[in-house]
């Protein structure tokens, strides 16, 4: 479905994740963060850039991998994106919801 975020029309799925990463920009990210009650700081942007890069390289994301990434430890990741950090951060970063293995 379509949604207008920060003045641009983007495609999102029923859970609100962007379905086309090329439609993402920083303004979209900022507004998605606000919807999640988060004000983005420099640290947030660093983590988001890391997640986007892993996504582009087809690396499946998990809390464990992020903890070992040297970009952010799990504790800080939770402080930056409370409750369900990987899902929240992925949504703000414009990348798909992480699939947990079955």
């Amino acid at each position: 479905m379509e949604k207008v975020i920060a003045g641009s029309t983007v495609q999102v799925n029923e859970e609100g994740y962007l379905t086309d990463f090329s439609q993402w920009n920083q303004a979209v990210g900022t507004e998605l963060a606000e919807e999640a009650g988060i004000n983005l700081t420099q640290r947030h942007w660093e983590v988001l850039a890391y997640l986007q890069n892993e996504y582009k390289n087809d690396v499946p994301l998990s809390i464990r991998k992020i903890g070992k990434s040297n970009v952010v430890d799990i504790k800080e990741f939770y402080q930056l994106f409370p409750t369900a950090p990987l899902k929240t951060a992925s949504k703000i970063a414009g990348i798909p919801k992480p699939v947990s293995c079955i």
Binding site: S62, I63, I74, K87, C101
Partner: protein
């Protein structure tokens, strides 16, 4: 003579030994199986042992009973694989050269990955049921436990048999009902996932059952530590869940031999082609069962479907032919829901579990994603099928290695 070595004589390795022996005969190829144990453990039985439904004799049998004559069983611990030089180094220093290697060393619990899990309360009020010893210790605890807060917990994914913790919660509900003490037990199911399961339709059905049985669910819980003093689990966000009895499924990892060989990912799972089951690193090394990193369920039924396809691919490999890209991630699992009922789910890489009939489209007799008594009979029959057909590589009638779409209700 050329040599195939199979590492591990669990569900996957035993099936491969039987299939390959049958297809290759005894002429040109020697087949060796290595396992450090002499006993084969029926792991699905670990779910029933804590509730005194099965006894230890039902689930432990000698490995050699399930291997054909003509296949050698080497009862030693494996130190590492040296793929460049094509040999296996044993813990006793022996070097065993191979032409083809099959990895079936499975995965196991790693409670040391979580701070405090192996603390003072381990096997006092903190238990696992993913090992024989754990399930037995828990049985003894449950025989005398007088009630309180029972927390059933998954540490992180992937785990083998991802529905087993839910089944444990359902069986606990019916166990305490039968003991007339359900009102003394507060049951909570804690998961790192956003819901009861990974696939939407099955999640909805399972959450409905949790509600019906008054089992509370706490989702999105990424555990940081077990607090042994306060008797609580704490997540990275600071969320704290108190327990009187914690039944946890610790992190699951492939065997350390994979790390020593430098062949695994950060959880010691071996990168594997998800359609052919050839390892990504080495053309003459193949992987199946719980040891792979593919996004299929880590279940005995999956290993069974994989073994049929991998056997064909090993024959293609020997003949110098291209491998078949046939494995579709097919899984077929019974889910015990307590009170003598069960659900059945059937799915693959691309199709989530849905409602329908199995194995005969439109007829059944088994019902997909619906609770029934006949599904429960199916789950109990699985133990007989496992010991008498599955391990020996006998094809299960009417159940194909590729998932069937007929008889299912897709949107």
């Amino acid at each position: 003579m050329k040599r195939i070595i199979i590492l591990g004589s669990g569900t996957a390795g035993t099936m491969m030994a039987n299939h390959l022996h049958h297809r290759l005969g005894t002429g040109e190829w020697e087949i060796d199986v290595i396992d450090e144990r002499t006993e084969h453990y029926y792991q699905p039985g670990y779910l029933f042992l804590p509730f005194d439904i099965y006894s230890p004799e039902d689930i432990v049998k000698p490995i050699k009973n399930f291997l054909p004559n003509g296949v050698n069983l080497i009862n030693e611990s494996i130190d590492r694989i040296v793929p460049k030089e094509q040999y296996v180094l044993m813990a006793n220093g022996d070097r065993l050269a191979y032409d083809i290697l099959i990895i079936g060393t499975g995965c196991k619990i790693a409670p040391e990955e979580t701070e405090g899990m192996l603390g003072a309360e381990w096997q006092k009020s903190v238990f696992d049921f993913y090992t024989f010893e754990g399930a037995l210790a828990l049985r003894n605890k449950l025989r005398e436990w007088e009630g309180g807060k029972l927390v059933v917990h998954i540490t992180e994914m992937p785990i083998k048999c991802p529905v087993a913790p839910l089944e444990f919660a359902f069986l606990a509900d019916s166990f305490f009902k039968h003991k007339n003490m359900r009102d003394k037990v507060e049951l909570t199911f804690v998961t790192p996932l956003s819901g009861a399961f990974t696939k939407p339709k099955a999640t909805a059905a399972l959450e409905h059952l949790l509600e019906e049985k008054h089992i509370k669910i706490e989702s999105d819980f990424a555990i940081e530590s077990v607090d042994n003093e306060q008797k609580a689990i704490v997540d990275y966000g600071g969320r704290t869940i108190p327990f009187d009895l914690l039944v946890t499924v610790p992190t699951n990892k492939g065997d350390e031999l994979i790390a020593r060989s430098g062949m695994g990912d950060d959880l010691n799972f071996v990168p594997t082609n998800k359609a052919t089951l050839q390892s990504k690193g080495w053309p003459n090394i193949f992987v199946l069962g719980d040891a792979t990193d593919i996004a299929a369920s880590k279940a005995g039924s999956v290993a069974h479907f994989e073994a049929e396809i991998l056997t064909d691919n090993i024959l293609h490999f020997i003949a110098g032919e291209p491998l078949k890209e046939e494995f579709d991630g097919h899984a077929n699992c019974f889910i015990e829901t307590g009170n003598g009922k069960a659900l059945l789910i059937d799915f693959n890489y691309t199709h989530e579990p849905v409602e329908g009939t199995f194995p005969f489209p439109g007829i059944g007799p088994l019902r997909l994603l619906k609770e029934s008594r006949i599904n429960h009979m199916g789950k109990l029959a699985f133990r007989w099928i496992y010991w008498n057909m599955l391990l020996k590589g006998t094809h299960i009638p009417f159940v194909s290695s590729a998932m069937q779409e007929a008889g299912k209700t897709f949107d």
